[in-house]
């Protein structure tokens, strides 16, 4: 073990310990330690959920470029992308599961179907997507574990293509559905916008693509010419989506802000100039846009691409926080927060900052995701190409 590996392990153990405690507390004490309230009913966990699920949809769509459209340049990362999509999906489902007041009743979404509820649709669609993902992984990996005849491999390829083809509209539907979950809420002017489903899709492709680029830049076994070529190609994809996402964000913010009047304008001002202005300007614009754009446009060496995509992938969480929370921070009726207060848990308040416990649970989920990823890339043949196996160590 090198020194660096030791440090990484130590960090992971700390993360897992903290997370373990958080999850234990969540299971035994419910949501009492969480800081969200009745007036800001969704907090960081919901933001984390849509962030993880976006990573999943993005990574999945990237793999589909190979399986459906035969983009050969990306062939080498297709399986890895599928695997990352599966892990981030597990992470997102865990996070949102911890957010439920009655975790044990989650099955009701299937036993009591409500066709008018956007949330129900979202759950059904990502359940279908999960099943499809597992199927794809199975057919993509089987050939490297078992000795298959060329005919069988061909057969598997056909199945893969079929699954991935179904997967594209499914991924678009379910992640667009996550956007619609917010967009359809007419009582929240900040969310109630038709651009959301589209923004969510672009955001997914951006964050998922960036995550994949970062992973490839770090853990690829052979850092040769072909690898650099692949990285630069991925870097271009990330840059493209980054700029497109910025354009959508401009539309989203500039329209309500133009005349500066109305409830939506106030909320956009809250995001841009409110108490958490730095989340937008420093975390998102500086670290999530300006630096990555610079690195991806003018540097373009492997290291820069790796750093840029890591920055994009991580800071995208700030965008998600800035979507969920500002939608909730202003009273629907003026003065409601002073009408009746809660001296015990302060649950009748518009003030929300995630509690340490919320971070802890999130750490637990991330630690689990990292562990799954570690074992996967170690024991599954994820980094081989579609048709030959010479890349693996």
């Amino acid at each position: 073990m090198t020194r660096n590996t030791k440090i990484l392990w130590a960090l992971w153990i700390i993360l897992a310990l903290m997370g373990g405690i958080g999850i234990f507390e969540r299971l035994t004490m419910g949501e009492r330690l969480a800081a969200y309230t009745s007036y800001v009913p969704w907090g960081m966990w919901v933001a984390a959920y849509i962030y993880f699920i976006g990573l999943s949809a993005g990574a999945f769509l990237l793999s589909s470029l190979v399986y459906v459209f035969g983009v050969h340049k990306l062939e080498r990362i297709a399986k890895l992308a599928l695997f990352v999509a599966a892990i981030t999906l597990v992470m997102s489902l865990l996070t949102i599961w911890f957010d439920l007041g009655h975790m044990e009743r989650n099955y009701e979404v299937f036993t009591r179907p409500q066709f008018h509820s956007m949330m129900a649709w979202m759950v059904w669609l990502y359940s279908a997507y999960f099943a499809l993902l597992l199927g794809e992984l199975y057919y993509a990996l089987r050939r490297d574990v078992k000795n298959l005849s060329p005919r069988e491999i061909q057969e598997d390829d056909r199945k893969l293509k079929r699954l991935a083809t179904i997967g594209i509209p499914l991924a678009i539907a379910f992640h667009g559905g996550v956007g619609a979950l917010f967009g359809t809420v007419s009582s929240r002017p900040f969310w109630h916008s038709s651009i959301y489903p589209i923004m969510f899709l672009v955001g997914a492709l951006l964050s998922g693509g960036a995550l994949m680029t970062f992973i490839v830049s770090v853990i690829w076994p052979e850092k040769d010419e072909a690898w650099l070529d692949l990285l630069q190609f991925l870097g271009k994809i990330v840059l493209g989506f980054l700029l497109f996402d910025l354009l959508l964000e401009w539309a989203e913010y500039s329209i309500p802000l133009w005349y500066g009047v109305g409830p939506e304008a106030d909320l956009v001002k809250f995001v841009l100039f409110g108490p958490f202005w730095y989340v937008h300007w420093i975390v998102h614009i500086l670290f999530g846009v300006a630096i990555p754009v610079y690195l991806l446009t003018w540097k373009r060496d492997a290291r820069s691409i790796g750093i840029a995509s890591a920055l994009v992938a991580v800071t995208f969480f700030a965008i998600r926080l800035n979507l969920v929370i500002p939608g909730l921070v202003t009273p629907e009726l003026r003065g409601l927060e002073h009408a009746y207060v809660d001296p015990i848990g302060n649950r009748l308040s518009y003030h929300y900052i995630p509690s340490f416990f919320e971070w802890q649970v999130l750490m637990g989920v991330v630690a689990l995701g990292l562990a799954l990823f570690y074992f996967g890339q170690r024991y599954l043949p994820l980094m081989q190409t579609l048709n030959n196996r010479e890349v693996s160590k």
Binding site: Q114, L333, Y340, R347
Partner: protein, 306 residues
């Protein structure tokens, strides 16, 4: 209370019964409704509504509470889908005493952080041109509620009589409905207790015992028993969305909602909007009646007079 006495006319008899009912409203809310709910569990069809409806007098000076009581009993004789409960709140009469809030908290044993009917106290203008208005805010029991279609499991829905309810045994606690309500009339039960910070200081233990005696007995929303509790599987309504029920459990027993009974200013009116002769129909049709946020398109069944 209802013992036959030859010296009384049936009219005054009924009047006394109603007044008696109202005088003991607080007591009834805490104790009696429990007993009644027990009884109701055994025989759910039976209610205590007298077979002969209460007669509404044409006397203009009749107390509104007596009039509403009579109208309530009359409405309860109809099939459920022919009733449409509504409320009218006279903002000129509300004195901002919060009695309705407190009455509701007691009636439904609401834990900290859960509130069904806060009174918003708004100061308008700048000194010296200042006025204050008070706006009690129950659930509007909207005609077109945005909260119910959002629910992924159908736990919250609009009953045939217009009351929007939450089935605590079904709700998964996702809080989507909380985000969907334009009036923020829903709160989440985080599993907190009034005694959570108690037992600090000299009288701690005593205070704790006394307070637990209050907080541990069940509440009777929707005519059932609800004993709250936390844990890996929380006992509902912990972990659920909660909201004003128009006191369905009281209506079933022929009683007005608690906030109406406890309103000091006689500023809250309740009744059947499908009954053109009812007080609420009369008031809701007045030119100075309005609803909150009409632009939300929810068509509330709670009206304000101003």
């Amino acid at each position: 209370m209802n013992k036959d006495r030859p010296d009384r006319t049936p009219e005054s008899e009924e009047r006394r019964a109603v007044l008696g009912k109202m005088a003991s409203a607080t007591f009834a809310g805490l104790m009696l409704s429990g007993v009644l709910a027990h009884a109701q569990d055994a025989a759910p069809q039976k209610t205590l509504i007298p077979a002969r409806p209460f007669k509404v007098s044409s006397d203009a000076n009749q107390d509104v509470l007596i009039r509403m009581q009579g109208e309530l009993e009359r409405a309860m004789q109809k099939p459920i889908n022919e009733r449409r409960w509504g409320m009218v709140i006279d903002m000129r009469k509300c004195i901002g005493c919060h009695s309705c809030t407190v009455g509701c908290v007691m009636e439904n044993k609401l834990p900290p952080g859960v509130v069904y009917r806060p009174v918003i106290d708004e100061e308008k203008g700048t000194y010296p041109n200042v006025t204050r208005t008070f706006l009690p805010r129950p659930c509007m029991h909207c005609e077109d509620p945005p909260c119910t279609p959002a629910c992924p499991v159908g736990a919250t829905y609009k009953r045939a009589d217009g009351i929007v309810v939450v089935d605590y045994d079904v709700c998964i606690g996702c809080r989507y409905c909380l985000t969907a309500c334009p009036y923020q009339a829903r709160t989440f039960d985080f599993g907190e207790h009034w005694t959570d910070n108690a037992a600090k200081g000299a009288d701690g233990a005593l205070a704790l015992t006394a307070a637990r005696a209050y907080q541990n007995p069940p509440n009777f929303e929707y005519g059932k028993h609800w004993e709250r509790g936390e844990g890996i599987i929380p006992k509902s309504p912990v972990g659920n969305a909660r909201k004003c029920t128009f006191c369905t459990h009281r209506l079933d027993q022929g009683m007005l909602p608690m906030c109406v009974s406890t309103c000091v200013g006689r500023a809250t009116f309740f009744g059947d909007l499908n009954d053109p002769k009812s007080l609420v129909s009369e008031l809701a049709g007045a030119p100075n009646a309005s609803v909150l946020k009409p632009e939300a398109g929810t068509h509330p069944n709670v009206y304000y007079l101003n």
